[in-house]
Each structure stands twice: as C-alpha cells, then as structure tokens.
C-alpha cells in the first residue's frame, strides 16, 4: 500500500524536474527566438557547396 506514496512522490519529483528545466530554458533565453533556428537548420554545409560549384569534367 505504501507503494502508492512512493509512486506519487516519484511523479511529483519528475514533474518538478521538468518545471526546473523549463525555468532554466526560459532564463537562458531559449524561447527568445523561436523562428530563426528553423531557417538556420536548412542551410547547406560549406563542403557540399564547394563540390557543387566545381565545374564538371567529362
């Protein structure tokens, strides 16, 4: 029966971890810019870009 107290304790503890994680994310400005990263992730890598611009030899 006391297992239920243990489980409730665990669930509240885990929820607290998430709450603290949210506070940390909020404080370090991770929600300040929610748009630009979606643009940034689509940029090609430099290496690829250079192989593409090489003239084709055939």
């Amino acid at each position: 029966m006391s297992a239920i107290f243990f489980l409730i304790g665990c669930s509240v503890f885990i929820a607290l971890i998430f709450l603290v994680a949210f506070f940390w994310a909020n404080k370090t400005g991770q929600h300040d810019d929610t748009y630009t990263p979606s643009v940034r992730i689509l940029f090609e890598d430099e290496v690829q870009e250079e192989t593409e611009t090489l003239p084709k030899e055939s």
Binding site: I4, L16, N26, D33, Y35, T36, V39, R40, F43, E50
Partner: protein, 798 residues
C-alpha cells in the same frame, strides 16, 4: 543592343532595361546591386542567391556617413560588451526579410576574418555580432554591413535605450508554476471524483494536504497580480474585472484550506489552479508584441545620432546632445538639420515635407533661420545653432501636454461590465447567505455564500475579450494593419469621426505620376532619358521610369555634370542637355502644382515634366464607404492648391483645412473631441505626431513600415489603405463577438448559480463547469472571429 524590358535584376528583382551593369552573365538594375554581387562573389558567397531568387534590396538613395562611430563617447552606448580583444554589438537591420538574409548575416566571417561570430534574429530583425576590435572598428563593421546592402538603423532612441526591453518572462514563469500545480492537483483529485472505497479513505486526507500544498504557490506567486490589481482598483474607488477574480481566488483557497484542515471535504484545489492557469494564459495572449515595430517613436529616432561640428581643428562629429547655442554645423546633402539654426554659408534648399507636409523644398537665403527637422537637398551648408536641440521649434512639441503619457479615459467593455457584475455577484452571495441563516441552517449559509463566489468567478468573461481581440489582432496583422494592443481594437470600433492628413496619407509619395508640358520630339526625349539615367535624384529616377518605355535604344553620354539641388548638365549625342529647376534651365520661375523638372536642349527651353502626387488607389471609394458611418475631415500642413479637387472627393460637410501648423492640428482634434466625437487621426509625418497622440486612435500610414513613423496606436501599411472601411467593420464585429461570448459565459454562471445558492455544489461540479465554460468561450471566439473575418473579406475562403 536592345535588352528586353522583362529582365529582372539578379540582386533585387527590379525590372532592368538598357542596363550597362553586368557581371558573370547576370544583369543588375544599378551600380549598388552590382557592387553587392561583386563583394559576395569575390568571397565565394554566391550561395546567398541560391536560397531565394532576388534576395537583395535596393540600396537607399540616401547615404549616411558614419564618421561619428569613431567617437568613443557615442559607441560606448551602442555596444553590448567589450573586453581587451572582442566587442559585441547588436544592430537593428530593417531589411532582413528572407532566409538568404539570415544566411548572409551569419556568414559575415567569410567577408572579414575579424568577425568572430554573428547571430541573427529574424523576427526582431536584429543581428548580434562579435568582432575583434583590434582588427575592425565599429565604423568598419557598419560600413561593411552597408556595403552588402544591410544598413543598420542607428538612432538616438537606440543609443539611449530606454524602456525598450519588455519582458514576458515573469508572466511565463507564473504560467509554468500554475500549469505544474494544475496538472498535479488534478491527478490527486481524480480518485475523489471517481469515488473511493472506505478502505481507501486515509488516502483522501493525504491527497487533500498535497492539494493544499499545490494551491499555495498558485495563490501566493501565480495569482498575486490579481490581488494587487484588485487592491489598486478598490483604492481608486473603481471595480475592474480583477476584483471578482481576486475574490473568487481568495474564497476558493479559503474554502479548500477549511475543508482540508477540518477533514470535511476534498476542497477545490484543482479548480483554483485551473482558474489561475487559464486566466494567466489569457493575459499572456493579450500581451503579444510586435518585435520589429515601435509605436513609441518620437523625434529622437528621426534625428541623426551625431552631426558634424566645425571647430578650429576642422570638422568633427559630435553627439547631438552636445550641440550648444553658437556652434557651427556642417550639413551635407540629405542630412537633417537637428536644431534651429541660421544659414551662414551655401545654397540651402530644405525639404520640410516630413515636418510641415509641404512637398516642395524651401529655398533659404543667408541669415535666415532654418527650423530643425528639415532635410537639406543639394550642396553642403554651414549653420550656426540658435537653439538647443530639445528647445527647437519641432522638438518643443514633445514638451507639450498632449505628449505627456496620459491615462486612457477609454473604458473597455469588460471594465464597464465588471462594475455591475461585481455588485450583482456580491448581492446574490449575501442574499443566499441571509436566506439560509434565516432558514436556520448556518453551515449551509456559509456553503452557499462561498459557492456563489466560486462558481460565478468571471473566468470565461475575463477570457472572452483577450481571445477575441488577439484573434482579431492577428487577422489585422495579416492584412498589414498593425495595432498596438487589444484595447485599441475596441477604440477603433467606437470611432465616429476620421481626420486625414494629406501628403503621404491620402496621397501616395511612392508612385508619382509624370506628364510633360511643352514640345519634345521622341529622339530628344531619348537624350533626356540618357542624361537622367546617370542621376540618383528621385525625380530623375521617376522620369526615367516613366519615359523609358517610349524610348528605344540608348544614346551615349559624352559629358555629365550634376549640380546638387539644381539639375543636370550633360552633352548627349553632341547636343547640350540641361534638366533641372527653373533657374537652372533659364526659365522665369513659374508656379503651378507639383514638382516641375524643366528641360532645355541646346539652350532652348522645351518645356517641363510635371510630377504630381497621385491619390491612393480607390481613394474616392474608400472615402465613400467611410462617409456612411463617420464624419470625415482633412487637415493638411500643405498649401491649398488641390482644394477644389479634394472638395469633390470628400463629402460636402467635411472640413478641409490647409496651412495647418502641428499645434493647430492637435487643437483641431481637441475641438472635435470637445463636441464628444471619438476621433481617429490618420497621418504620417512628424507634424502629425501631436494630432496622432491627441486622437482617440492615431493611425500612422506608412509605405515602408520599417521607416520612421511617429508615435501612434496603429501602423497601417499604405498598400492596405483600401481595406480601411473593412477594418472598421471588422473591429465592430469583434466587439459584437465579445458581447455574444459574454452572454454565453453569463449563461454558464446562471446554471452554476442555481446550484450554488442551494449550497449543493460539489467540487466535481465546479471542476467540470469551469474548464468547460473556458473551452466553450475559446472555441466560440476563435470560430466567430474567423467567420467575421471571412465575411469582411480579410481572410480568403478555404
């Protein structure tokens, strides 16, 4: 060589005709675009052109000088951080508009190795750059940005950086805490709602205690703003909506604590947490901001940061605040006169269009006073300051009463309702209590009293305004009408009188029409076009744009000379061509409307080009529709040469006032308000700033929303001017939706009350009714707002 007219500039996408600007097989519309391409291609950065077609923006014709960035006193205020090696600075760059911009600004290190890292923020249109200041100065960095077409906007308001940073972080943290407690207390309340067996009864006590624990941070941290606001409202002897809300929260907590401590029931902890959570979400929705727009601009963002002062050791840039009476200033072409000053040297032709609305540059003679705010066109002039910047004719306006931040005397719907609501609520609660006391059931009397305050807590009512208005706000936003806050939408719905400014508001400065008066053969026109192509003057560009389709082929220009502020002198195909103002071409000065460009070929005057400011598209239709519900008036700082024309467009009872000073405009609005009109002012310039602020709703009309627009309640993109009547109708509909959702939430309250007055309300009933009414309101307002937006053709039908 004849190039087809349909070619687009590789950089900016403008139409290219007869271009000489080419590189790597790409065509460009002007030298500016070509040079940006050259810079990028030399650093192997053509990728910029791969993410989007024509990602560039044409460089502005007005070039700014950045010598002042070498002055340490000024730059200290601009940068965020500096140590021995690196400097970090953030710039606002209005021209950020696509993914190519983000790519380029984040790969600045390829252009200059001294740039360590740069990070851009697309929505705020900002870029944060870390660079080694030993290798690259701040001025060098800014000039690099200008060279690649991303000119940062540096204004006095940035330098002063006051009240700019508005943070929602506190509110978000409160929502997080309330949400956390809401979820947990709901989990702990479920066993109670589903019914517990007698052998589980000892859990109920523990769960009750935990619930009470979760409701504490909600009461003390998340919900404390409601108590503060309710207290302030009571002190001002007013009853805003936060009073019944705070009362509801307090009673919920008190009854929960009582039930848990006396082990008489499960309490209402989940309802309390849910209530505060939903209320805070509503508040958060209401507080959305436009990152890239500023509604609080004053003259400081229009004026330059620094100005060139002439002293014994030559010209030197100094911050504007250091300018004193008696200083000698050097004002170059296209620079703004920052303080009232006397002309000492040079030919002054000052463009006061932004200050007075007068569209033609004013010629000044030596010894005359030039008022601050004018833009010098032509050669550099020398001035002696007679009044400090803050005491000048124009800036003095901001010391006027109307510019002091004043409390809005406008009552939003929810404020009006809440007064009666609170009184009725308390009346019902006390009546129920008194009834049960006389019936001899004291326990039930308390139960009924608290139940009434809990169930009638106007949560749904408090949410109906924010959800409706923020949905409306985003619809306005999509239609390029940017409103400062939700209260302004209710103001817009109440407007019954609209006052227009003329220049830039009902006339469009961007697309002026040209026509020619006189005699000019087609091949002579070709000569004029060939000469004008070399000039960057707005009128020359306009002329070329207008005349180019009528001219085929290009004519070589042998000699070219531009006299700033006067005209162009060129030898084209061995004929001498002079294009410019009356004096320059040898014409006795003539009056008439619009800007005139005279042409003489081989010293024979051929006639003149007339640039007229056209009215905005469908102006008469817009005014016709608006006149149906509002009084319309016009108030302009310009002269009255177009009065007869405007008389025909405006309704017969409209006032048409001309030659109005900024202060007179403001007083005119005041006089309309004294006749108990609710006035909306549409303007664009600094001269309208007073009227915009004085009006119940000030709308700044702007053709480029990133340009300077004076302090106002809303910014309207010139392209959406046609939609103005629809905006008004939609604002009225939004208020109608608020009334309807108020009706819905009141119905819920009445249903709940009928249980509450009997003192038979169970915690489960409250826990279901409260979220149910909230969800209904959110759903209804969202759907209704979209239906009305479709009806007003502000969103397309799916």
């Amino acid at each position: 060589m004849i190039v087809s007219n349909t070619t687009q500039c590789y950089h900016c996408g403008d139409a290219v005709s007869h271009t000489v600007f080419e590189a790597d097989g790409h065509r460009f519309c002007c030298l500016g675009c070509q040079s940006v391409y050259r810079i990028l291609s030399s650093s192997n950065m053509q990728q910029y052109y791969r993410y989007n077609r024509h990602p560039g923006k044409k460089k502005s014709e007005v070039s700014t000088r950045y010598e002042y960035l070498d002055e340490a006193t000024l730059t200290d205020k601009l940068i965020d951080f500096r140590n021995d090696e690196i400097t970090i600075a953030t710039f606002y760059i209005p021209s950020i508009h696509c993914s190519s911009c983000v790519w380029l600004l984040e790969h600045l290190y390829k252009l200059n190795p001294a740039i360590v890292v740069s990070r851009s923020d697309f929505l705020k249109k900002q870029v944060n750059i870390t660079f080694k200041h030993t290798e690259l100065t701040l001025r060098g960095l800014v000039e690099l940005l200008v060279d690649i077409g991303y000119e940062p906007k540096i204004t006095l308001q940035d330098v002063i950086k006051e009240g700019q940073k508005f943070s929602q972080k506190g509110l978000i943290a409160k929502i997080a805490v309330a949400g956390f407690c809401f979820g947990n207390s709901m989990m702990l309340s479920f066993p109670e709602y589903f019914g517990m067996g007698t052998f589980e009864a000892h859990y109920a006590k523990i769960f009750g205690w935990m619930n009470l624990g979760f409701s504490l941070p909600v009461l003390l941290y998340s919900g404390r703003d409601y108590f503060r606001s309710a207290w302030q409202s009571l002190r001002h002897k007013a009853l805003n909506l936060d009073v019944p809300l705070a009362l509801g929260i307090a009673v919920l907590f008190a009854r929960t604590a009582w039930e848990v401590l006396s082990v008489s029931g499960p309490g209402f902890a989940d309802t309390l947490c849910g209530l505060v959570f939903f209320l805070l979400v509503g508040r958060w929705i209401q507080q959305r901001t436009y990152h890239h727009l500023s509604f609080e601009r004053d003259y400081r963002s229009y004026f330059p940061v620094a100005v060139t002062r002439l002293s014994e050791d030559g010209p030197k840039p100094v911050p504007l605040a250091d300018i004193q009476v008696g200083d000698r200033l050097l004002i170059r072409n296209n620079e703004i006169v920052p303080a009232d000053a006397i002309l000492l040297n040079g030919q002054a032709a000052v463009d006061f269009s932004f200050v007075t609305g007068e569209s033609e540059p004013v010629q000044k003679v030596l010894g005359e006073i030039i008022y601050a705010g004018g833009r010098q066109t032509g050669e550099a002039i020398e001035l002696e300051v007679v009044k400090a910047v803050s005491q000048s004719y124009l800036t003095r306006l901001w010391n006027n009463e109307a510019f002091k931040p004043h409390e809005l005397n406008f009552r939003t719907f929810s404020n009006t309702v809440s007064r009666y609501f609170t009184v009725v609520l308390l009346g019902v609660a006390f009546a129920a209590m008194v009834f049960w006391v006389f019936a001899g059931d004291t326990a039930r009397a308390w139960g009924a009293f608290t139940a009434v305050l809990i169930i009638a807590c106007p949560c749904a009512l408090a949410l109906s305004s924010p959800f409706t208005l923020s949905a409306a706000l985003s619809i306005f936003d999509k239609n390029r009408f940017y409103i400062k806050n939700t209260a302004a939408i209710e103001q817009l719905a109440a407007i019954d009188c609209i006052v227009f400014d003329k220049t830039g508001t009902i006339s469009s400065p961007a697309a002026s029409r040209m026509r020619f008066e006189g005699n000019l053969l087609t091949d002579e026109l070709a000569l004029v076009v060939a000469a004008c192509k070399n000039s960057n003057h707005p009128l020359s560009r306009e002329l070329v744009k207008w005349a180019a389709p009528n001219v085929s082929g290009s004519v070589p220009v042998n000699q070219y000379c531009e006299v700033a502020g006067r005209g162009i002198e060129a030898v084209v195909a061995n004929r001498s061509v002079r294009v410019g103002n009356a004096a320059f071409t040898g014409v006795p000065s003539g009056g008439g409307t619009g800007s005139r460009v005279y042409v003489s070929i081989d010293d024979e005057v051929k006639g003149c080009f007339l640039a007229e400011q056209p009215w905005r598209e469908n102006l008469h239709v817009v005014l016709g529709e608006l006149a149906a519900g509002c009084h319309l008036h016009l108030i302009s700082g310009d002269n009255d040469k177009e009065k007869a024309l405007l008389r025909g467009i405006f309704p017969p009872q409209a006032d048409l006032l001309f030659h109005q000073l900024p202060v007179e405009k403001m007083e005119y609005i005041q006089s309309l308000q004294a006749q108990s009109h609710r006035v909306c002012m549409l303007g664009d310039g600094l001269n309208d700033a007073g009227a915009l602020k004085q009006a119940n709703l000030g709308i700044a009309v702007s053709d480029d929303i990133n340009n300077f627009s004076p302090g106002c309640d809303a910014i309207l993109d010139g392209r959406s001017f046609v939609k103005l009547p629809r905006f008004l109708r939609f604002a009225k509909d939004a208020v109608k939706i608020i009334h309807l959702s108020f009706g819905i939430s009141l119905t819920y309250n009445l249903v709940g009350l009928s249980f509450a007055v009997n003192g038979t309300m169970s915690p489960l009933f409250a826990a279901v009714l409260m979220p149910l009414s909230t969800v209904t309101i959110i759903g209804f307002t969202t759907v209704a707002t979209h239906l009305y937006a479709t009806k007003n053709q502000l969103i397309k039908r799916q």
